[in-house]
Symmetry: C2
Amino acid sequence: MNEKNQLARPLALPLPTIRRYPVYLRCINEMIAAGETHISSAVVAEKLGLDSVLARKDLAMAGVPGKPRRGYPARELQAAITAALGWDNSTDAVLVGVGSLGNALLGYRGFEEQSLSIAAAFDASPEIVGKTIHGVKVRPMGDLPRLVKRLNIRLGILTVPNAAGQPCADKLVAAGIRGIWNFTSVRLSVPDGVIVQNVDLAQSLAVLSHAISAKR
Amino acid sequence: MNEKNQLARPLALPLPTIRRYPVYLRCINEMIAAGETHISSAVVAEKLGLDSVLARKDLAMAGVPGKPRRGYPARELQAAITAALGWDNSTDAVLVGVGSLGNALLGYRGFEEQSLSIAAAFDASPEIVGKTIHGVKVRPMGDLPRLVKRLNIRLGILTVPNAAGQPCADKLVAAGIRGIWNFTSVRLSVPDGVIVQNVDLAQSLAVLSHAISAKR
DNA sequence: TTTATATCGGTATGTCAATAGCGATATTTT
DNA sequence: AAAATATCGCTATTGACATACCGATATAAA
């Protein structure tokens, strides 16, 4: 039999739970800023419009023991979720493709919350290389391998045109990148061990436009 | 009993299927451009790196009968999926919040593929109002209700700072919008009948950063 | 003409996550 | 000190989707 004193935290968190963690985290941050010392799953669920059981299970997954009638200790819960997301340590990333979207991401201030900082940007176009966008200097693609290795960067942000998607992904992989945040519509093929997270606006829009056109 | 001559298309398509449709559609378009007249689910699955059964089921959901040993008729399948997504008729949308992200979306050329055109843009800041960004004139928020009603616009794109998210969503709803494409991190509360599709970069990044930090 | 085969279409099974229900317990109230 | 209650934490059920399997059929090959 198992000792039941210790809280059993599963080795792998459910993917949907991980996706919801940023939402919880923002809510918890607000509550801490408002002076709360304890976080009740019921209150969080109410604020976010989620089922109370779902919120309780998600928060319990963080591994911090809560107390009946009080909730979870706020700072500990915050720290646990932040750690689960890997946002407790600053992460450097490189951005490839300084078009309009890459430009917007370079200017996005919200990444600080996720401890993400774009350490360098690259582009193939000679007209853009050399310019400084939102404080980041745009470098030629040739500099990518050396810089990624020197700074030990593990995350690449891919914001190039579709045609350049796979070739640039290959370059990132060859340079030693571990994860690619893919903003192109191309289905990247990468070796095992490299993680790709797709942000396909068309997929997101599909759900919305289908629903709107279907309900008429 | 049921007549079985007609292909039974389910009234509601599974959400994951809808999300995959844009991916299939791009693949089908390429194959048509390459001169194919028939689309085999096995070939599509191979190209996209999906399970062949999954692709077959998804394509079958479109309601177009396929032929053994040939596949689905290319143009008909293309038309059916396009219609299922509501991309067969041009859809006008309004964009609220012309910051860096709103700017990038206004300049994004890929929306034509989805028959989406941004008919008008709005912003609260007097410095931006009146300017023309990528061919679209930025109007003051006060003009929103009248213009949405006059052009009978059903889709709103929300790219304002988090603090303005809910108020602006309320204005869109009051103007008669049916769906909101929400790029803020705020969980919007809207009345029944209005659909919200969230594009939360933090949620997407969460999966990636968790995986990268966990596997070390 | 006959045989072989690729692909479709439906049914059954398995897996994962969301929901529901219930007991345990610490805090608050009386 | 005793009773009431809110909240946690566990287990079971439900439901949806992905996967596996199998029969039907039109095309291609022999």
